[in-house]
């Protein structure tokens, strides 16, 4: 384990930024935090987490896939892929780190999404333990320990120092490059912090939320549950939950006619939208209830069914904070899961 004094943190950032683009949470003018590229003078945010999840780094909201250039009646196909530099994402919380596993299973299984894979291979993740989780946090429900974030390098921040431990070869290499600014140390402070975090976890209001009612094979049982009507009643059909979610991975592929050709791009889509997966015959899910149900069934039943029981929610709590009508996965789990969810 290595540590660095917080006083030297900017030197550390500078050192990292020498070899790769460094992104870390920074405060925005509206008071929220967002991952932004580190530049001389950038200030690392104290916020618990960012509004947008770090999935953008690997699965950006819009991404050009290819382009067609038209001239008269001729069409030329253009590869829009650009060379990518190595980059480092700093300060990723345990929940968000876990979300990458969930995305990987979608994008890196056959057929591999080469755009995603390329970005993934260039990124180094430095995670950060949560010393002050929010009341909206429920990562523990999904077996995530905010005191033990994974990633290429795990980090813990105390009042005075920041501690690092590498978990992968990539992480090890990066940490070695930073050896001049860090020093070897024991894990006393980190163990101490882990204990504190564990204690707080016991106090979180959502600590008892259970997934027992969900998982693969539950489709028949849950699909026609009468509670879906009530739960989806107020849903506005916006995409807020989807777009702030670190694990939502649906996208639409669209063509943009530039006048001189076409750019084919993909962009995030939301299963809450009325035209989601609209096909020649029309829509699969015609009512907001069906769309609403899809989102939660996918996270809690369909995904685990196809992915060895892994739920595609990491309990980051973003949707709890951001939903305009405060309807969210926790309310769904409690209602649909009945007593088992308690």
């Amino acid at each position: 384990m290595r540590k660095c004094s917080l006083e030297k943190i900017n030197l550390l950032f500078k050192e990292i930024a020498k070899n790769a683009e460094l992104y870390l949470p920074q405060d925005q003018t509206d008071g929220s935090a967002a991952y932004k590229k580190w530049e001389e003078g950038s200030v690392w945010s104290n916020a618990l987490n960012t509004v947008r999840s770090p999935k953008d780094f690997f699965f950006p909201q819009t991404e050009d896939l290819m382009a067609f250039k038209t001239e008269g009646k001729n069409i030329e196909v253009i590869d829009t892929r650009k060379a990518l530099d190595d980059f480092v994402i700093f300060g990723v919380r345990a929940c968000d780190v876990k979300s990458f596993d969930i995305l990987d299973r979608v994008f890196l299984s056959e057929p591999v999404d080469s755009f995603y894979a390329l970005r993934r291979s260039h990124g180094v993740i430095i995670s950060l333990a949560c010393s002050k989780p929010s009341e909206t946090c429920f990562c523990k429900t999904f077996g995530i320990n905010p005191a033990e974030p994974t990633g290429d390098i795990s980090a813990w921040k105390t009042e005075t120092d920041i501690f690092f431990e590498s978990n992968t070869q990539k992480g090890k290499e990066l940490l070695e490059k930073l050896s001049a600014l860090t020093e070897e140390c024991d894990d006393t402070a980190v163990v101490d912090q882990k204990a504190k975090i564990d204690a707080i976890m016991q106090k979180l209001p959502l600590k008892d939320l259970k997934t027992d009612a969900f998982g693969g094979g539950k489709t028949g049982e849950l699909f026609n549950a009468p509670e879906w009507d009530e739960l989806s009643e107020a849903c506005l059909g916006c995409g807020t939950c989807t777009f702030v979610c670190p694990t939502c991975q649906c996208y639409d592929i669209k063509d943009f006619n530039t006048g001189n050709g076409v750019i084919r791009f993909r962009c995030w889509d939301s299963c809450m939208y009325s035209d989601f997966t609209k096909m020649a015959h029309g829509n699969n899910r015609l009512t907001q209830k069906e769309r609403f149900r899809q989102r939660f069934m996918h996270k809690l039943v369909y995904y685990p069914e196809n992915n060895d029981g892994l739920f595609s929610c990491v309990g980051c709590g973003r949707c709890l904070v951001k939903c305009p009508i405060s309807m969210n996965i926790v309310k769904v789990m409690k209602k649909i899961g009945g007593k088992k969810g308690e």
Binding site: F256, T258, G259, N260, I263
Partner: protein
């Protein structure tokens, strides 16, 4: 040394009854104005949807001008009165977003005002040329 002179792209929406006829009259009288101006015929200035204007800027226009009959002379009685309000609101909003207000204009040109049409276009092209390329409301995807 080759000087690459900046030529703006101007989209002019002209109502069929007055301004388009005014543009024709400018042609009849051989009153020159820059070829940068491209005219789109609409039945009435009130047919111009703000979306068309934004679309033009997106696609690379540097200025958009809407020409209609003089207030009170609308072939459809009241069309240009609505245009006047809609465009006042839209232009004010574009300005509010920091987009150069000189890039948009409404002019009333009657069928008898060929000279005014040409003069207006000359002036508008000069104004937009002085502003330079539209950078604040452009869509880079549409650039060549």
């Amino acid at each position: 040394m080759q000087v690459n002179e900046y030529k703006p792209l101007i989209v002019a929406f002209c109502c069929n009854w007055c301004s388009y006829a005014g543009a024709d009259l400018a042609g009849n009288n051989r009153l020159a104005y820059p070829a940068d101006v491209k005219i789109i015929r609409v039945p009435c200035s009130c047919r111009v949807n703000p979306m068309f204007i934004l679309r033009a800027f997106q696609r690379g226009a540097d200025g958009v001008i809407i020409c209609g009959c003089h207030p009170g002379d609308c072939h459809y009685t009241s069309g240009n009165y609505f245009t006047r309000r809609r465009m006042a609101a839209l232009f004010s909003m574009l300005d509010f977003l920091g987009i150069e207000k000189e890039r948009t204009r409404v002019e009333w040109v009657s069928a008898a005002e060929g000279a005014k049409f040409a003069a207006t276009m000359n002036d508008f092209v000069a104004t937009v040329t002085a502003l330079g390329e539209n950078k604040r409301l452009e869509d880079l995807r549409c650039k060549k």
